[in-house]
Every structure is written in C-alpha cells, then in structure tokens.
Amino acid sequence: MMRLRPFLLALVLATTFAFSATAQQAHADTEKFIASLGDRALQVLVVDSQSEAEREDAFRGLLSEGFDLRLIGRYALGRYWRRATAEQRSEYAKLFEDFIVDTYVARLGEYSGETLKVVSSRADDRDTIVHSEIVGDGRPPIRVDWRVRNGEDQLKIIDVVVEGVSMLLTQRDEFASVIQRSGGNVEGLLARLRDKNSDGE
C-alpha cells in the first residue's frame, strides 16, 4: 500500500499538469482568435476611401466568420424563443442578422483605426472570456470583454461587453420590451425589425 502512494501522487500530479497545460493552450488559442479577429474588425471599420456599403459587407463577412449569429439571436429572444413558431424563428433569424450588422457597425464603428490589446482570459461555464482593451491615442483604454464559445471544434464569439455593458443583454432587454408592449406577441418584434431593416436601405 505504502508503495502505491508516490505512484498515485505522481499520477495525480501528471494529470493535473496535463489538464492545466491543455487548458492553457485552449486559452492561448482563444486569445489569439480574438486578437486577430479584433484587429481585422477594427481595420475594416476604418473610415477610409471605402464606401459605407463596402465596409458593411466586409464587416458582415467577419461577423459571420467570428460570431455565432444564430445562437446570439436565440439568446437575444430569451424566453420568447420557446413561444415562437418555426416560421417565426426562421424569419427572425434572417431579420436579426441584418439588424445586428447595422447595430455592430454603428456601435463598434467609433473604435475604428484603434488597436485591440488582449489582456488575459478565463473560463466561465462553457465559455472562455477574453479580456481586452481598445487603445487609442489621447483617451483612456476602453475595456472590452469577449465571450467565446467553443462549439464543434470552432471558436465563435457570442457576446461583446464594452465597459461592463453587454451587447447581447442590451438587445435581449430591448426585444423583451418590444414583445411585452405588443401583448407578448413575437410578431410585434418581427414587424419592428422588418421596418427597421427596410429603413436603412
């Protein structure tokens, strides 16, 4: 029995070490993912010779590459997802994508041309949170946290939190309010999103 102890200890140590090494590797990968995507996004948003439409197209490409838009839309609908019919869900998914591109271009656009610096990361439930800062000249760094989900061998962002304010929660609160004001009917939200999306064109 006594002889088994050191062996067990070694085994425990080895597995713990191996585990933390993979965890660290996973964190490093996630950090790299955010750093490269963030930099590209901020560059795309630079107000340059590009037209508004071109910028939006490029940004839309990055969004669908880096973000799990379906899941974000699903979270943004919150508990009303369960009440929506299959047709409503699929229309919502399309409307939401247009809506979110416009919103993200507008709300993240003010950081165009600045640099994203990844600070650290940590695990949170089944997600990894990557802490970063957007550094521009002449103003204090802006704290931006990314919630990244590792689903099906692919990293996807599901939330961006700027100075403690979550884009996803803001959207969910807003959608919930619209639905509540139309008597708890998801159709009310779809109508508003349809209006909104046709406004911009």
Binding site: R82, D102, D159, V161, G164, L169, E174, S177
Partner: protein, 241 residues
C-alpha cells in the same frame, strides 16, 4: 407586489420598471428638450471650445468632486482607493493648477468615480425601481437617494448655502451636464438610430453600467447568460432552422 406585475423586472437581470408609463412620458419630454436645447448647446460647446479647454473644465469639476469620492471610498472600506483619491486631489490641486490638469493619471493614479448609490450597491442594496428624472434622465430609487446623500458630502454645497451663492451649484451642474452631453453626441445618436425601442435600450444600458460601476469593473465582469428553462434541444433546434 412589484414582482407580480408583468414588468421587465421579472426578466432575470433586468431592472424593475413599474412606473414605465410615466417614465416613458418623461423620457419623451427629455428627448424633446434635448433635441431643441441641450444637444445644440452641447454641439456648440464641443465645436467652439477647444479640446484642451474642455478637458480642463472637466478636470476642474472632477477635482471638486474629490471629497464626495473620498467619503464613498471610505464608506466602501476601500482604503487603497481612498489613498488614491487623496493623492490625486493633492497632486492635481497643486501641480495640476487647481485641478485644471490631471497629472495624477499620468503618474499611474487613475481616477475612479464613486457615489453613494454605488456605496449602497456594495452594501447589497438593489436599484429598487427605475426612474426617469426630468432633464437629469435615467436613475433609480437607490441612486436618487445616493444623490441626496452625496449632496451633503460636498463641501462646495455648504459653502454655497452659507454664503447665499446657490447659483454656484446650479452652474456647476449645468456645465457638467453640457460637458457630458458634448462627449456623447455621436454615441447617443447612433444608439437611437439603431434601436427599435430607444427607451428600453437606455434603461438596459443604465442598469448594466451601474452594476458594472458597483463592481468597479472587476470580475465577474460579465453578466451571466441565464437560460432558465432552456435545454440543449432548443439549441439544436435553433441551429437546424
């Protein structure tokens, strides 16, 4: 009682808003005042007063707030923060020429705003209900109470009261408001443009921002995504659509 109503408060993480009809009314009135008076004044201030001058105005006003911040640092038992606030005050008042400049930040003493609403938050007091105040905008029951207490932490208010110079505090509030508005012109315009319910968006932003301030930005910096009642099946279904 409040929880029984179908207010947004019954969504996890949302602020209760039983006064929503009144709040929306005041919100709309505030927007009208903003469009006709405040935003034009703020735009003028931003476009015609040079950046360094505006920064100095803000630095000066912030330095005057130091006693309030210090009192709340102490009440939150955050003696490190109290030390930083004190050092900042002395450095900026002397080297920073009566607070017009902010050399303390360059020395690694970053400013952190504290108020009694946040102090109550660290004691575990929730926001109570959401309030939209005329002109002043979004607040909560807790934060209004906080503002009243902060008034008594501020030596300038005693000075103004005792010398019949009440206009000083009004003037200060006005300048602070215009300065703050001047720095958010584009941001607010964009939020309004991209919102389908501007009132609900601002309510959510206010609440999240206050929660974050109370935590001083430290972990947990992200609100939990609460999927009560959801299952993995739902998720799969969403991906198949």
């Amino acid at each position: 009682m409040v929880a029984a109503c179908a207010t947004p408060g019954d969504e996890p993480g949302q602020i209760a808003d039983p006064l929503e009809p009144i709040n929306r009314y005041i919100f709309a009135a505030n927007l009208a005042v903003d469009t006709t008076v405040i935003e034009p004044v703020a735009t003028f201030y931003r476009d015609f007063v040079p950046d360094p001058a505006r920064d100095s105005v803000r630095n000066f006003l912030r330095n005057l707030e130091s006693p309030v911040t210090l009192a709340n640092d102490v009440l939150q038992r955050d003696l490190d923060a109290a030390g930083v606030t004190t050092k900042r005050f002395f450095i900026n008042t002397t080297i920073g020429v009566l607070g017009l400049f902010d050399p303390a930040t360059d020395m690694g003493l970053a400013r952190r705003d504290e108020d009694f609403g946040q102090t109550l938050g660290t004691y575990g007091v929730g926001p109570g209900v959401y309030l939209v105040l005329p002109i002043l905008g979004p607040s909560s029951l807790r934060d209004v109470a906080g503002n009243v207490v902060d008034y008594y932490f501020d030596p300038l208010n005693y000075y103004a009261d005792n010398t019949d110079r009440g206009h000083i505090t009004v003037l200060r509030a006005g300048i602070r408001g215009v300065d703050a508005r001047a720095r958010t012109i584009e941001t607010l315009d964009e939020i309004e443009r991209t919102s389908i319910d501007f009132y609900a968006t601002i309510r959510s932003l206010y609440h999240q921002r206050r929660q974050s301030d109370i935590r001083n930005g430290s972990a947990p910096s992200l609100p939990k995504l609460d999927l009560t009642g959801d299952t993995e099946d739902d998720r799969t279904a969403s991906l198949e659509n």
